[in-house]
């Protein structure tokens, strides 16, 4: 087990810079998830940590040692790939034993460790099979077994669940979490799936266009997004983001209406473009004639998901989503009033994307 640190890490391919000097320090035994859309630099950062990509500038430290020039095999890391990267011509046993083969591990110990790992992952009856005789979930498990058997300092996961169907993904997520709890190995996990990020991580690192936008616990990135990008990326359905303007007296103009936000934040005095954010679950619906409601709209689409219902509302030019109690049965085409829970709303500078609250 070890800490991992990125210091001003830069990656450039020719003249194109894909990672712009990121700083990150990962605690010993921590489960850290790098999340972001494709092309945000998360996989590149992970591959630099693995030693599969050269570092253009900056430093990577594993433990106390700088590893920029250290070969992948000497970094004491193990990696699980998206397509599993199992050796198709070897049995499950040989796939797992492969990494011990070149580390001068005695044969008896290799056997012991492979058997032990297979037991943990429920792979014992499959040890003689070839990868192509396994289901997707089983292959995924072998890929993890191959990483675990080494007892490395750091686990790296590169979108390991992307190739699985939704049901299997949920159960593998759980297994990865349990595994991390029992092994306690420092883990860096790359995904574009925010649910994986929220459920697995001790800390989430949200990346955007080669920069780190926010580092924080899942709760922090969800409830206190530091940028407009994080606000829009984390959460499903996404946060409602509405253009807003400050009226100067603790009120905002949002979607043609005036909102009093004094209880939550003081909007800037000067006149500039702002974005008001509110999560779907922080909107409640009330009948048209109810008093106190601030924004009026027309119900466009209603999606009953079971545990809750999503209501798509058109407010002028704007489209909002509200997540409401399934006992409410809104009718398409009907006018409604929206109540915003101001205590849970967010305000961003439209130009810089920074949170103002």
């Amino acid at each position: 087990m070890a800490t991992v640190e990125f210091r001003n890490l830069v990656k450039r391919y020719g003249s194109v810079e894909v990672v712009h000097g990121i700083n990150l320090s990962i605690n010993d035994g921590e489960f850290l998830v790098l999340v972001g859309p494709s092309g945000c630099g998360k996989s590149t950062s992970l591959r630099m940590l693995a030693g599969l990509e050269d570092v253009t500038a900056g430093e990577i430290l594993i433990g106390e040692a700088e590893v920029n020039e250290v070969e992948p095999r000497d970094r004491d890391i193990a990696m699980v790939f998206q397509d599993y990267a199992l050796y198709p011509h070897m049995s499950v046993y040989d796939n797992m034993a492969f990494s011990l083969l070149y580390r001068k591990t005695p044969k008896a110990e290799i056997r012991e460790r492979v058997m032990e790992t297979a037991e943990i992952l429920g792979l014992t009856p499959l040890l003689d099979r070839r990868p192509k005789q396994l289901s997707g979930g089983q292959r995924q498990r072998v890929a993890m077994g191959r990483a675990i058997v080494r007892k490395p300092q750091v686990f790296l996961f590169d979108e390991p669940l992307s190739n699985l169907d939704a049901k299997l993904r949920a159960s593998m997520r759980l297994e990865i979490k349990k595994l991390h709890r029992s092994l306690g190995v420092t883990t860096v996990y790359v995904t574009h799936d925010q649910i994986e990020a929220m459920t697995l991580a001790d800390r989430v690192v949200v990346m955007n266009g080669g920069n780190i936008d926010q580092i924080g616990s899942p709760e922090e990135v969800y409830h206190a997004p530091r940028t407009l990008f994080v606000a829009g990326f984390i959460g499903s359905p996404t946060m409602n983001l509405l253009p807003a303007r400050s009226n100067g007296n603790s009120t905002l103009s949002v979607a043609g209406q005036t909102l009093n936000v004094a209880s939550r934040f003081t909007p800037p005095d000067e006149d500039r473009d702002l974005v008001f954010g509110i999560r779907p679950e922080d909107i409640t619906l009330s009948a048209e004639d109810a008093s106190g409601s601030e924004i009026e709209g027309l119900i466009d689409v209603v999606e009953a998901l079971g545990p809750d219902t999503l209501v798509f509302v058109n407010v002028g030019e704007q489209h909002l989503i509200a997540r409401v109690n399934p006992d409410i049965h809104p009718v398409t085409g009907q006018p409604v009033r929206l109540n915003f829970n101001i205590e849970k709303s967010h305000l961003f500078d439209a130009r810089s994307g920074e949170a103002l609250s």
Binding site: A50, G51, L52, E71, P72, R73, R75, I77, A78, M79, F81, Q82, D83, A85, Y87, P88, H89, F98, S99, L101, Y102, R103, K132, R146, R150
Partner: protein, 302 residues
């Protein structure tokens, strides 16, 4: 008739046969009938214009017990076949080289592949000129660098004729083998190499444990194609040496040609052809078995 075509399955089947029949007719007249006629001929006495007479195993006995020309040709074919492993090793090395991210690798690939589609007769004539003892480039080069003092008539020499012909054969086929192996290499997912890299396997471990096993289907395809080539390299031998000097480069295929079209022993040639066919079938089957029955298969994902 209309009843027959009412079922969708029958209509589809009729369409399939309609597409197949033209090709099958040609195949029947140019392949199946000659092959069967060849087998019949091998058990008969026959010459153009003469009636067919049953000969039993006469030609086969003649071949095995009395014709040392056949045995020499057979031995030479075996020697000539050794060009295949050499060509495959060379092609593997070249494929690994041009698979690297090097500048102009497409130019190298094209240059190495270029000899393959060339007409064999042209290749034979060019190489005959290269090997020539008075104006040949090879002799000129060897003498310029002082490696030899007297010119060597490669193709007229008992010592060098076979190896010279084999070199030309390797030169022509190596590019084709390289392309086959290259395709195999590019079908190995790059993540496998990365996983092995992290697993601690050094370059030579990765070559022996990852690359080579996964190339097996491609390599065995080359073996089979090489075996075919060594049985059918008539044009190259015929243009370069005509089987000489003496019988030094006489292969089964050239010997059969001479038996039929020079000596008009069509029946005897037919018997030798049957033997050659049997040998070839055996070798190809063995090669395919060794490859796990998937020679040439490039899909290794599932």
């Amino acid at each position: 008739m209309t009843r027959l075509f009412r079922l969708k399955r029958n209509r589809e089947l009729a369409f399939v046969w309609a597409l197949l029949i033209p090709a099958l007719i040609i195949y029947l007249f140019y392949r199946v009938i000659p092959l069967l006629w060849n087998v019949v001929l091998s058990f008969s006495f026959w010459a153009p214009g003469k009636p067919l007479e049953f000969a039993g195993l006469y030609h086969y006995e003649e071949m095995v017990f009395f014709d040392d020309g056949f045995w020499i040709a057979l031995k030479n074919t075996g020697v000539f076949m050794l060009a295949t492993p050499v060509a495959i090793s060379l092609a593997l090395a070249l494929a690994l080289l041009v698979d690297q991210k090097i500048r102009g690798r497409n130019i190298y690939r094209t240059l190495i592949f270029l000899p393959y589609p060339m007409m064999v007769v042209a290749v034979g004539i060019v190489w005959r000129w290269l090997y020539n003892d008075s104006v040949g480039l090879i002799n000129y080069g060897l003498r310029t660098f002082g490696i030899i003092s007297e010119p060597i008539a490669f193709l007229e020499s008992y010592r060098f004729a076979m190896i010279s012909v084999m070199a030309a054969a390797i030169w022509q086929i190596v590019g084709f083998f390289m392309i086959i192996i290259l395709t195999g290499l590019q079908n190995i997912p790059p993540h496998l190499h990365e996983a092995a890299l992290i697993d601690g396997a050094r370059a030579h471990h990765r070559f022996w444990r990852i690359t080579l096993p996964l190339l097996r289907p491609s390599l065995f395809l080359c073996v089979i194609l090489g075996v075919i080539a060594s049985f059918t390299s008539f044009d190259l031998i015929y243009t370069m040496t005509g089987g000489g000097p003496g019988r030094e480069t006489e292969l089964l295929i050239t010997y059969i040609y001479k038996a039929s079209f020079t000596l008009s022993q069509f029946d005897y040639a037919a018997a030798m052809t049957v033997v050659m066919f049997a040998l070839f079938l055996t070798l190809a089957t063995i090669a395919n078995r060794l490859s796990g029955g998937d020679a040439g298969k490039v899909d290794i994902t599932d």
